[in-house]
Symmetry: C2
Subunit: 320 residues, 2 copies
Amino acid sequence: MKLAVAGVGAVGRSVAELAGEYGHTVVALADSRSAAVADALDVEAALAEKREAGRVGDLDPEAALEADYDVLVEATPTTLGDAEPGYGHVVEALARDRHVVLANKGPVAERYDEVRARERESAGSVRFEATVGGAIPVLSTIADLGPGQVTAARGVLNGTANFILTRMAAEGLGYEHVLAEAQDLGVAEADPSFDVEGTDAALKCVILANVLNDGAGAGRGFTLDDAEVTGISDVPGEALDLAAEDGRTIRLIGEVAGERIRVGPRLVPEHGTLAVSGTRNIVQLETTHAGRLNISGRGAGGPETATAVLSDVGRLPPLE
Amino acid sequence: MKLAVAGVGAVGRSVAELAGEYGHTVVALADSRSAAVADALDVEAALAEKREAGRVGDLDPEAALEADYDVLVEATPTTLGDAEPGYGHVVEALARDRHVVLANKGPVAERYDEVRARERESAGSVRFEATVGGAIPVLSTIADLGPGQVTAARGVLNGTANFILTRMAAEGLGYEHVLAEAQDLGVAEADPSFDVEGTDAALKCVILANVLNDGAGAGRGFTLDDAEVTGISDVPGEALDLAAEDGRTIRLIGEVAGERIRVGPRLVPEHGTLAVSGTRNIVQLETTHAGRLNISGRGAGGPETATAVLSDVGRLPPLE
């Protein structure tokens, strides 16, 4: 497949670097202010130019969206509300009857019904495995089981929050102290609110709710407004100590059951399946006939998330 | 899809019972001595006849194989060596340009290259998710990642052996005692050797090795003879006590790395990912770019394994 990659953060960069290994060709690469387009783009050179000159090439970003690609890989930063510019990129690609693979959560968390409506009018398809749980194959597992067969999904969907809770429990340290440590390590952003307030986990749960209710025919396009969200910044170190005395610990758990979407700190068994440590993610799926499935692994990271993007590309049907 | 189901053990029965829920029609059902065939078979009636009269219908078993089906679900018991009669059923379905979905491990564990060769000459495809890890989507995850991206697979692949080791460790009981208990509970067969000697886990590892090496182009058709297998019948209760003192426990671990296939009792961390309890199964996949993925769930059971069969059916392309 010929790929146009929009966004050269950790994920977009890794997709461009690994595409060849999966048998695909990068024909366009864009950041927010520049683009490079070629029949077979020299990815190394474009990324080197980005590092040195702050641009991937001499063209305007729009040139990448107008290039002759089969699949637009949308890996620009997740935005809330109108989900722009990602949503506009999705619309443009579908209008050209091209496929879209999203790493950007915005369009399928905030404008799911609109994305699906545009997809129905297009010869292209939209896939978004990378938006939930990084490398963990959550959405493809749901698709294989049949969305109607999955009655609930829950799990640890934010590695930064999980790292902080793991460290607080293991070292008996307070939230502010561990947050500062996580920021030093690059595990938490300078502004950590997206992760520690539960927004990121909630967006993933909204996407899961959209997928699970889509299959049941009841989809009505959930958005972040439909989620009940509590973060971890108010979890006192003492709460973790008390939990440990009882063989339990605290994790930021996202949960989707029917139309209910909740994210918040929850008590879980200390050595139980949900108590993954560090930046790992886990998703539990409750199924009608197959009991509970657990899938865990790296929930973030450039190459990890790029693997999910490239798996999606591999599942796309040929165009025309 | 129109399904012919060969074998009415726990898995075949569940496939027949659940097919309608997944939008498929059962057109034939066979056990080793009888068959029922109809445009839309009354599954309930055929299974009732099986319970009451020991036959699913008035026809000979061959009638099911000659029926007008799209997919043969091969759920007869796993046999070693020539893998008959399952292998013959696969050959016959492919020769008729029909799809085959296997729950029977024999054909893909003992005659993998022959199955793939027959598949290449056919318009039909062969799928076998249900043969490894029951409800756990192991093979589809490998397919989605790309087999070349998975460098090793290991895990707990036999629920009976895992149940026995879990009980021995938890209760401080000896192997013979726990085995008898497992037989009373129906978790172990009257002749438990297939499970406790590691044969069943080894067959699953052989199938994994065939799939992983197939993608790398190095496939040479591994069989049970290529596996180094040690069972759990010689694990003394004292070994579990000693392991526990060190924060570890013992699990029957199957492992595939390159062309090496091994099954045997191994020390694992007591609260670690591989130490699943009871009859649960887990598979760990080591990947080139996405780190380690863990998938766990129910590794056996009629409806659980039927779910894997019906997921495979859902992934098949339409015929003609």
